[in-house]
């Protein structure tokens, strides 16, 4: 099955990966963690990074499905 996944990066993580967004297309089921690895080969996910799928927080081993928006970002510091 072809998966089309948008990946977004925010704040200090956006600066360290050097981009704000990736659009992945690949076949086969996947998890959030695997999405990171496909988008950032050879670079391990930094500690403390949070992940969201379709704007809800998820664990890194959550599944993703075709059309999902996956986001990675550091701990939030608003307020």
């Amino acid at each position: 099955m072809l998966m089309s996944i948008k990946v977004r990066y925010f704040a200090s993580l956006k600066e360290s990966v050097g981009r704000s967004e990736d659009n992945l297309a690949f076949t086969g089921l996947s998890t959030v963690n695997e999405v990171w690895n496909r988008a950032n080969p050879g670079r391990s996910l930094p500690a403390n990074i949070l992940a969201a799928v379709n704007m809800d927080y998820v664990e890194l081993d959550s599944n993703v499905k075709d059309g999902d928006e996956v986001a990675f970002f550091p701990p939030v510091t608003g307020g």
Partner: protein, 150 residues
């Protein structure tokens, strides 16, 4: 219930008054209003700070704020809430966040306001980057528990 993300400087008192004027019906039921205003300090972690940039995740930020407010309303008797959060370039003393909670009784107003603020600080996707007086920039790494250390 309203959630606003502001790219320009806002006046928290005008925001509250405007919101109350647009929602006058709750008048006689309200006995308690608890308000929190977060403003930008000109120091942090021992360094002078002269500016700040607030980044957010459009869509997710609003979604998480709605969720937090729903959780507060499930726990306390709340009549209405207003949350305003600044994004973009901010200067010291400018407001960053406003949380206002209207309730019949003070315990409900205080608890819900504090819950919303604490949850916002740990769950709403906003990120601060500080511009120090030395011209260095740095990302704020983590929100604290909100008490001054001696």
């Amino acid at each position: 219930m309203a959630i606003k993300i502001c790219a320009e400087v806002f006046d928290p008192y005008l925001e509250i008054q405007a919101y109350q004027n647009e929602n006058p019906s709750k008048g006689g039921a309200v006995g308690a209003t608890s308000i929190f205003i977060g403003t930008m300090r000109d120091f942090n972690e021992g360094d002078a700070v002269k500016g700040m940039t607030l980044e957010y995740y459009p869509g997710m930020t609003e979604k998480q704020l709605e969720k937090i407010i729903t959780e507060a309303r499930q726990q306390w008797h709340v009549i209405d809430t207003l949350v305003v959060h600044r994004v973009g370039e901010i200067l010291p003393a400018q407001p960053i966040v406003l949380v206002a909670v209207w309730a019949s009784h003070r315990g409900d107003a205080f608890d819900a306001c504090r819950y919303i603020m604490d949850a916002l600080k740990s769950k709403a996707p906003f990120w601060k980057k500080e511009l120090l007086a030395t011209e260095d920039e740095r990302w704020v790494v983590e929100n604290t528990d909100g008490y001054k250390r001696c």
